[in-house]
Assembly symmetry: C3
Homo-oligomer: 330 residues x 3
C-alpha cells in the first residue's frame, strides 16, 4: 500500500533486533521445541496434570454459576420475560439442566481428588448426583437468605435506587450469591469446585470470600473491591462491610517440622449488627468484634473489642502546607 511507503527510512536488521537465524525456515525448529517441552514434563521440578482424570473446567463452572443465579433470582438474568403461568415449566427445565451440570462437575471434582490420592472410588457418580440433589434442596432457603442480602444493600446504601438495580448490578450480590452457593458445597466436603466458584466471583468483583467462611443473614458489602474474608472467619447477622476490609490471619502456626499448619481457626469472629468501614484490617482467630460495634475506616485491629464498641483511629496528624509554606518546604 502506498501509505506504508511514505517514509524512505529503511530499517536494518540490527534496528529490528533481528536474530541471526532469520534465513532458516522457523517452522523446522518447532519439533525440537516440542521435544524440550515434553522433556520438561518428566521433570519433577515442574507442575503438570498428565495421566490425571478430567477436572472441573473454568468455563463450565462459570456457566453453572450463571444458571444457578437464574434459579436463585428467577426472571432477572435470562433474555425472556417469565410470567407466573410458565414459571413451573421454566424452573422445571432449569432445575434439570443444573442437576446435570452440577452433578457432572461434582463428579469431576471428586474423581480428581480420589485419583490424585491414589484411591479407587466406585461411587463417584452416585455421590455426585446425591450431592447435586442435596444442593438443589437448599435453593428455597438460599433464596430467602439472598433476599435478606438484597434488602440489606437497599437499607445500607443511599445510592441504591431499587431492589432491581441491586440484583442487576451490585458486585456484592454476585460475590455473596456465589459465596452462598460455594459454601453449601464446601460444607458437603466437595473439593476444588467451591474455591473455583469464589475465585471466579473474586475476579469479577474484587471481593475475595473463602467458601469456608461462615456468614449470617442480611450481609452487605458496599463497593467491595479489595475485601478479603478468610477461610475460618465467622460473621453474624446484619453485618455491613466497605471496600478494602480484610478479615485475615495474624500469623501462621507451623508444625514441628516447619511446614504450615492448615485448618485451625486463624481469622476473626464478627458478631451481629457490626459495621466495618473501608480499608480496615482485623486479624487473628481469637479476635472477636462484639455485637453492635462500629469499626471506623483504616483501623488495624488485632485484639477483641466488647459489644457496642466504637473504634476509630486517632486521626493521624496531617501537615497542611499553604502555597507559601510549600515554597519554603521544597
Amino acid at each position: 500500500m502506498s501509505k506504508r511507503a511514505k517514509s524512505s527510512v529503511v530499517v536494518t536488521d540490527e534496528a529490528c533486533h533481528l536474530p541471526a537465524e532469520t534465513s532458516e525456515n522457523f517452522r523446522d525448529q518447532l519439533p525440537r521445541i516440542v521435544d524440550a517441552i515434553v522433556e520438561s514434563c518428566h521433570d519433577k521440578e515442574t507442575v503438570d496434570h498428565i495421566d490425571a482424570v478430567a477436572i472441573p473446567d473454568r468455563e463450565s463452572v462459570i456457566e453453572l454459576i450463571d444458571d444457578l443465579r437464574d434459579l436463585l433470582f428467577p426472571g432477572y438474568f435470562g433474555n425472556q420475560e417469565i410470567d407466573r403461568n410458565h414459571l413451573t415449566y421454566h424452573l422445571g427445565s432449569e432445575v434439570n439442566v443444573v442437576f446435570e451440570k452440577l452433578s457432572h462437575q461434582i463428579a469431576r471434582a471428586i474423581r480428581h481428588e480420589c485419583h490424585r490420592s491414589e484411591i479407587i472410588c466406585t461411587h463417584c457418580l452416585n455421590r455426585s448426583q446425591a450431592e447435586a440433589l442435596y444442593f438443589l434442596e437448599q435453593i428455597p432457603g438460599l433464596r430467602k437468605s439472598l433476599a435478606g442480602d438484597v434488602k440489606a444493600a437497599y437499607n445500607g446504601d443511599p445510592a441504591a435506587k431499587s431492589f432491581d438495580e441491586i440484583v442487576f448490578s451490585y458486585p456484592a450480590i454476585i460475590a455473596i450469591t456465589t459465596y452462598r452457593i460455594a459454601h453449601e458445597l464446601h460444607i458437603r466436603s466437595i473439593p476444588l469446585l467451591p474455591r473455583m466458584m469464589t475465585e471466579y466471583a473474586h475476579s469479577i468483583t474484587g471481593i475475595d470470600i473463602h467458601p469456608g467462611a461462615r456468614i449470617g443473614e442480611n450481609f452487605f458489602i458496599d463497593h467491595g473491591t479489595g475485601v478479603v474474608i478468610g477461610e475460618t472467619t465467622e460473621i453474624g447477622n446484619n453485618v455491613r462491610l466497605y471496600q478494602g476490609v480484610t478479615l485475615g490471619a495474624h500469623s501462621f502456626q507451623t508444625d514441628p517440622n516447619g511446614s504450615l499448619k492448615r485448618g485451625y481457626k486463624r481469622h476473626p469472629t464478627i458478631e451481629d449488627d457490626v459495621i466495618i468501614y473501608s480499608g480496615t484490617t482485623i486479624l487473628g482467630g481469637n479476635t472477636v468484634i462484639g455485637a453492635g460495634s462500629i469499626i471506623g475506616g483504616n483501623v488495624w485491629l488485632t485484639h477483641s473489642v466488647p459489644p457496642g464498641s466504637h473504634v476509630v483511629i486517632e486521626e493521624p496528624e496531617l501537615k497542611i502546607l499553604t502555597p507559601k509554606e510549600m515554597k519554603r518546604d521544597i
Copy 2:
C-alpha cells in the same frame, strides 16, 4: 484404564460421605424440588422478577459499551484497518447499529421502571429513540473529552509509551470512557442502564465511578484498582487520582422514620488541578479540596482544605528492628 486401578484401596460409602438414598433414581426427586422453588416465588420474603417486562440484559449492555468504544476511538477496537476513504461507511454502519441497540436497551430500562411503578407509558419507544439520538449527538463532544483524558494519562504516567498503548490497555480509559457514556444517560434520567454500565467497568478495572458523579476534563486515574467515586462527587479539570482513592460519604442522614435519605450531596468536591495519591480517603458532602492542592498517600480527610494546600500524613512512627533486636523481641 489400568492407570486408574493402580491402588487397591477401596473407598467405603462412609469415606465418600455418601448420603443414604444412593439407590434411588435421583431424577425422580427433581419435580418435588421444582415445586419447592416455585412455591418460594410466592413468598414475600424472596426476590424475583416474574410477571415483569423484559429488562436490559448484561450481555447486551457489554456489547453496547464495546460498540460505543469503537465509535469513540475509531479504528482501535475492531479487527479491520480503517482508512479515511471508508471512514464514512464504517461509522455510518456503526452509528445505525448503535442506534438500534441503544434505543432497544433504553426502551427496556424505561418500560421496566414504568411497569415496576405501576404506570402505563405509551411513549416508551418514541422516547427511547429520541434519547438514543440525543446520546449519539454527544459523540463528537465526548471524543474531545476522551482525547483530553488520554493526553492526561500520557502526561501523568512515566510508564506510558504512547497514546496507543494507553487507549489499548489502560484500565482508566475503560473506566472513564464508560463513566462518560453512562453519565450522559444518567443526566437524561434513563434508569438502570447507566449503573449497569459503570458496574461492568468496575468489574473489569476495579474502578467504581457512580454515573451521577460530575467529572471535568483531562481526568486520569493511575493503576486504579480500589478507586471509589461516589454519586454526588464533583471533580474539576486536570485532576489525577491513584489506586485505592475513595471519594465517599461520611455518614448517612436518615428520615424521621429511620430510613436512609437518598440523593442529597454527601460526597466531596475536588477543584481543578488536584492530585490525590494512593490509598487516600476523602469524605463528606461539605468537604472541598481547593484548586491546585496535592493530597499525599494514605491520608484520611473529612474536612476542606484551601486552594494550593499540600496535605501529607506525619509519617507514622515505624519500629525497625534489626535481627539482633528481633531475637529479643520474639
Copy 3:
C-alpha cells in the same frame, strides 16, 4: 398484555422527559450525526487510529494467553484428559498453534510501531517468527519458574489445599504466569503486546504487574487485589506479598522543558526472602528492602532498610468507646 394495563395512570410526555422532536423519523437524523463524527476525526484534538495498520487485538491476546497457559501447565486448562502417550501429539499441535498466533500478534505490534514512527520495516514477518520461536524456546525454563511459584503459594498459604487448587483458582498464578510471559516479550523489545497481556491479567485479578519489572523465583502474592508493581521494580527470590501492596514511584523527574522523564529507575528493589504484608506502600528508585526483611501491614516506606529488618507501624492510638461513652460522644 393485560398485566401491563393494571394501572390507570397515564404518563404525559413531560413525565417521560420526552424531547420535542418525537414526531420525526429519528433515523432520518442519523446521517447528520455520522457526518459530525466523521468531521471529528479530522480534528487534531481527538484520538483515532485511522489509516494505521492493524493492531494486536484484545480478543486474540486473551486467546493467546489461554493457549500459553495450556503449554505452561499441560493438562490443567483444556477439556480433555491428557495421558503420556498422547503428550507429544498434544503439545506438538499446541506449539504449532501458538507459533502462528504469537508471530501474528508480534508482527502486528511491530508493524504498528514502525508505521506510527513512519519507518518502513521490510523484516516484520521474519522478525516476528524469529521472536515467536525464541519465546517458545523459553517455555521449559518458564515451566520451572512457575512450578516454583506454585510451591511458594502452597508453602505460604495455610488455606491452600493442593497444588491443583492453586493452579486452577489462584489469581496470583494467573497474574504471575501472564507477567512471566509478558516479561520475556518485553526484554525482546516487542511493543504494545506485553502491556496488553499484563493489563488483561490486571483486569481479572486486580494485580497490576508492569512487564518491565524484574522478579526472581518462588514468588507469591496472596489474595492480590490492589497490588501494584511498577515498571522498574526489582524483586529477588522467595518474596511474598499480600493484597494492596504498592511498589511504586515516589515522585517524577521532568525534563528541562517540563515533560516527564521516562525509563529511569523509580521503583524500589526488594531483596531475597522478604515478606510484605497487606496495604503497605514502598516507594522510590533508591529504596532497597534488605534480604530477609519482614515489612508489616499498612506501612508507608520511602527509604531503605538493612537486611533482616522487621518494620511495623507503631499501632496508631485507637479510641475505643463503650456504649455509655458513645452516648456522651455523640
